[in-house]
């Protein structure tokens, strides 16, 4: 057992998540069941070792709600759009691979941004460059350089929202400064 000891506080979010999964799967949130779930979660977390995920230590529910609203809206419009493209355009589609440089250098935030834009139809993460936090996206229906610029702006807006929800305070300060200078 020569693994680095992880403090309990770092794995606490994972344990809580596993307890919630346990409760949801049994459809039973009684205290006894949750305590047993917590016991199993603790054993699982220590037995099946994962590298600790470094969270940014900030989470704002106040920004989460509008972010979810924006996400759902984009999900619906983009899904309908892909449907429409499949029916009307089909084989005559033009695509592009676009590089988007993100602001944040936190692995967690880059992952979250990549996830969010992959879920919204029309863009797909092909490669990630960790050293410069650049995402390479494959985008549907990009016919010109202006379209690519629009994609880039959109992705950076999504990242800005995620920074507001759960970015580190340094990223948040940088974002505020950027907005103030504009």
């Amino acid at each position: 057992m020569n693994r680095r000891h992880i403090p309990l506080i770092t794995e606490l979010p994972l344990v809580i998540w596993l307890v919630l999964v346990w409760g949801a799967l049994w459809q039973d949130f009684s205290p006894g069941n949750l305590v047993f779930g917590a016991l199993i979660a603790y054993v699982v977390v220590n037995f099946f070792y994962l590298p600790p995920v470094e969270l940014t230590g900030r989470f704002s529910v106040l920004w989460l709600v509008p972010f979810l609203g924006r996400f759902l809206l984009q999900l619906v419009t983009a899904s309908v759009q892909v449907f429409w493209l499949a029916v009307t355009r089909g084989p005559t589609l033009r695509n592009a691979v676009v590089a988007v440089a993100l602001r944040s250098h936190s692995d967690f935030l880059v992952t979250a941004t990549g996830h969010a834009i992959s879920l919204i139809p029309g863009s797909l993460v092909l490669e990630v460059d960790r050293s410069t936090s650049t995402l390479y996206l494959h985008c549907l229906n990009v016919a010109s350089v202006e379209d690519a610029e629009a994609v880039r702006r959109d992705v950076r807006a999504t990242e800005a929202w995620l920074i507001r929800v759960m970015g580190s305070s340094r990223d948040l300060a940088a974002l505020r400064a950027e907005e103030a200078s504009r």
Binding site: S79, A86, L93, N95, L126, E127, V128
Partner: protein, 134 residues
């Protein structure tokens, strides 16, 4: 009555998203554009179907397991899409004539030219010429 109409609309909406995936799979020209049609509308489709189930049952104890089901999909589908997409790009399963611009290709070409060791080393270009790491 209203309740039945809502459930029906949600069910049909969810089924239409599957149809979108099917049509996209057949009509889009290359692997990566098919990926968009195949994986993404399902996220909305499953949401609509689970909502139909929740409205139909009207019990709160059901909500956590439905949320869990959707969250699992939210967590897994971008990862599998990324893995398949990356494998597709590296094995050249895309039609370059359909791309208006390809900014990853420039990076790959530059990395292939010279040694790119040192601190500025990137993850992206490795094996870009054909997935030689796998």
């Amino acid at each position: 009555m209203v309740h039945d109409v809502v459930v029906s609309a949600l069910l049909i909406g969810g089924a239409l998203m599957s149809l979108a995936a099917g049509i996209g799979l057949v009509r889009f020209p290359d692997l990566l554009s098919r990926m968009h049609a195949a994986t993404k509308p399902q996220v909305l489709g499953l949401l609509l179907l689970l909502l139909a189930l929740a409205v139909d049952n009207r019990s709160w104890i059901l909500v956590p397991v439905l949320v869990l089901c959707w969250v699992f999909q939210l967590l897994t589908s971008p990862v599998s899409a990324h893995m398949v997409g990356r494998a597709g790009y590296r094995t050249r399963h895309l039609r370059r004539d359909l791309l208006t611009l390809d900014e990853l290709d420039d990076v790959v070409a530059r990395a292939a030219d010279g040694d790119h060791g040192g601190p500025g080393r990137t993850d992206a270009p490795d094996g870009g010429a054909g997935g030689d790491r796998t």
